[in-house]
């Protein structure tokens, strides 16, 4: 706890010395905003912090859900079938290094301004970690698990639903956690697209235009806190459901 305290004290001292709230506002102007997350008073008419967060969460949730919906089945099929894997792998390796933000102009060309463009950017961000972890999870399933199911008379659907999906679930879950982290980063940038009028990303850019650095920082804190909370939820789920992976000898 020492370092955060030192940082906060150092911040206050620096803010006092710089004496320019546009460069570094005093904490006393940031904390009131965070203490009133439901208030419209501080956020320049964009709705409260919570309103903005809710919209951002909805957007990230949509893009993330879509990415999971496509990436998990695709990853399972690719993990199971060497032929499909060979077929798709090169294309995926070519697309994967392109940063999600590089897709922004194309997103605008294809989907115009609005929710669809943002969802697309978030989708791109979340898609690859989920896909790659799913493939990895399926490939690393013990051969004995599958063969055992076969000797007990399981059909391909049983093997997929009762063995592959369960056996790969911890790795898929890790992919979802990483994918969500990236999606959350993408939503901030996606909300800088023209035509946006609400969202945490929009809020901090909008506050910049008014020179309200304290609002920018409050928004950034909000973005960070939500990111941490959701990451912790994923980790709690991992401990709750997948403890068998760590305990297995």
């Amino acid at each position: 706890m020492l370092l955060p305290v030192l940082l906060i004290v150092g911040w206050e001292v620096a803010a006092y010395l710089i004496d320019n709230p546009f460069i570094l506002p005093s904490l006393t102007t940031v904390i009131p905003i965070l203490l009133h997350p439901f208030s419209d008073e501080f956020t320049l008419g964009t709705g409260s912090l919570v309103d903005n967060a809710a919209v951002s969460l909805f957007r990230v949730g949509s893009g993330f859900a879509l990415a999971a919906f496509v990436a998990i089945p695709l990853g399972i099929v690719m993990g199971r079938s060497a032929i499909l894997n060979d077929f798709l792998d090169t294309a995926i390796e070519l697309l994967r290094p392109i940063p999600p933000l590089a897709w922004v102009p194309l997103a605008l060309a294809w989907f115009k301004i609005g929710l669809a463009s943002m969802v697309f950017i978030i989708f791109i961000g979340a898609f690859f970690p989920i896909l790659l972890n799913t493939i990895d999870g399926v490939k690393s399933i013990k051969r004995t698990w599958v063969e055992l199911a076969m000797t007990l008379g399981a059909r391909e659907a049983d093997i997929l639903g009762k063995v592959i999906l369960h056996g790969a679930a911890p790795t898929i879950w890790t992919g979802l956690r990483v994918g969500f982290g990236i999606a959350w980063m993408c939503v901030v940038a996606a909300e800088w697209l023209p035509g946006t009028t609400i969202g945490l990303g929009y809020l901090i850019l909008y506050a910049y235009n008014f020179g309200q650095t304290n609002v920018i920082i409050a928004g950034m804190v909000m973005i960070g806190v939500i990111g941490i909370v959701i990451d912790q939820i994923f980790k709690a789920g991992e401990r709750r459901w997948f403890s068998w992976r760590a305990l297995e000898r």
Binding site: K142, T144, W145, E147, L148, A149, M150, T151, L152, G153, A154, R155, D158, K162, V163, H166, G167, A169, F242, W244, R245, L247, E248, R249
Partner: protein, 253 residues
């Protein structure tokens, strides 16, 4: 019911047009309720033989027959017990046993009742709600036995099922397996590299040569059960088997 393995040969392709022969021209029959042990050194293809019988791998040539009828692929009259890591760690002990029943279409509640019967048979009735990682290696293999029995196969295929256990647990499980075998009236093909284990368990030993595995001896064991490892008769039979498998025809490739 008679299981007949006829002229079974398996070659694995390696680079180019070459291939390695794992087992070569294996022929033998197993009678109903017989306990046969396939004995051989590591790498002699005995696991491959079992996997072919279980339908997990195709043979290069030869056939497997039940009552004179050629079978291929997985057959519901057989169940296999693997060396290790075969329990599903995300399922409870009981739900591991119900797996084969579920995929066979049995109703879940009925499957659970059947599973409990077999868990009690292997002495694990009190562990039904536990997870595999909470069990010792010996207990896990007993769950694997219960799971195999639950689908009511006629033939149990066992691939060195006690190979990774300590000596004491291993001896206990061998004894329990014989009790279950007598009670449940199954045919068992038991693969092992341990002469002691084979002599203790089996009615008949089928001895394979090093790779490629060929049958070099078939040795009936005429010891009455329960067998006593420390008895003079046991030592004599064990000695005889050791002498037979030390013959050049059993050791040369």
């Amino acid at each position: 019911m008679t299981l007949t393995i006829r002229n079974l040969t398996k070659e694995f392709p390696i680079t180019g047009n070459q291939s390695i022969c794992a087992i070569s021209d294996i022929t033998f029959s197993v009678a109903d309720e017989e306990f046969v042990s396939v004995l051989g050194p590591s790498g002699c293809g005995k696991t491959t033989l079992l996997r072919i019988i279980a339908g997990l791998e195709p043979a290069t040539s030869g056939s497997i027959e039940i009552n004179g009828e050629i079978i291929s692929g997985r057959n519901p009259r057989m169940a296999m017990i693997f060396q290790e890591y075969s329990l599903y760690p995300w399922r409870t002990v009981r739900d591991n046993v119900t797996f084969g029943l579920e995929v066979g279409g049995m109703h879940k509640s009925r499957a659970r009742e059947v599973a409990m019967d077999y868990l009690r048979l292997v002495g694990l009735g009190d562990f039904a709600e536990r997870y595999p990682h909470e069990l010792s290696g010996g207990m896990r293999q007993r769950v694997a036995v219960a799971r195999a029995l639950a689908i009511e196969p006629q033939i149990l295929l066992m691939d060195e099922p006690f190979g990774s256990l300590d000596a004491q647990t291993r001896n206990n499980l061998q004894k329990e397996l014989l009790e279950i075998w007598e009670k449940a009236k199954k045919t068992i093909i038991f693969v092992t590299h341990s002469v002691d284990e084979a002599v203790y368990l089996a009615d008949r030993l089928i001895v394979l040569t090093p790779r490629p595995g060929r049958i070099c001896e078939v040795i009936p064991i005429h010891l009455s059960r329960p067998r006593e490892r420390t008895s003079v008769e046991f030592a004599q039979v064990r000695r005889l088997v050791l002498d037979l498998i030390a013959q050049p025809k059993c050791t040369l490739q």
